[in-house]
Symmetry: C2
Subunit: 104 residues, 2 copies
DNA sequence: TCCAAATGGACAAATAATGTCCACAAAACT
DNA sequence: AGTTTTGTGGACATTATTTGTCCATTTGGA
């Protein structure tokens, strides 16, 4: 089993493992092959609806892809902003803080 | 370690400490007072241009506010998606991985 | 070579966000 | 009380961002 580090790479691995073309998968999830190609190379983000369709098509857990999707988004944001990694620690503290605000 | 709340709360604290009204600050940073009120209560996100203006107005470091801004965005995303906190660990690993990819 | 597959870019469409206006509510002041 | 000032809420306009498509081009294999 190959290690995939982004959602796009994971999707490409699954497709190639299944021996399918972009066109075949794209048709089944109702998008243009060009868009799927971009998603596999992380040039576009899939919508949640598309993630659901892909999970159904490959018969895997939707939440697995959603988790990859979310961590991708956060990672790319850190990279885009050239931010320090301790931003993530701060964010973690804020989540706890905001949760207590919401509940208490 | 210092206490992190949210960017909005920070802005409100600074404004009140300075004894200024929403209108006074809003006028100086060229936005509607209503918008500033929403930003202080985290109902709206400031643009980077606005963050710059605010930093100039209060004579503080722009990057301090930008860091708060970024960690806020990540925290709110985690909360919105009701995601597990270990997503942040995964994101951290992805950042490292993508950095090595980028550099070769 | 020929054909299918994959990629890139420009543009259209859709979505999501910011920002404003105005009305209202709550204080504060005279 | 009346008046003015401050902060809030919602509807809407505006702007920005993102997704998605189309088509041309390139790549790779039989």
């Amino acid at each position: 089993m190959r290690i995939h580090t982004t959602l796009g790479e994971h999707l490409r691995t699954m497709r190639e493992t299944a021996g399918l073309t972009l066109r075949e998968v794209a048709t089944n999830v109702s998008i243009d092959p060009s868009l799927l190609a971009k998603i596999e190379r992380n040039q576009r983000q899939p919508t949640k609806k598309l993630i659901k369709n892909i999970a159904l098509f490959f018969k895997i857990e939707e939440r697995e892809l959603l988790s990859e999707f979310l961590s991708d988004q956060i990672a790319y944001k850190i990279l885009d902003e050239e931010a320090d990694l301790n931003i993530l620690k701060v964010a973690e503290e804020k989540v706890s803080y905001l949760k207590t605000l919401r509940n208490g």
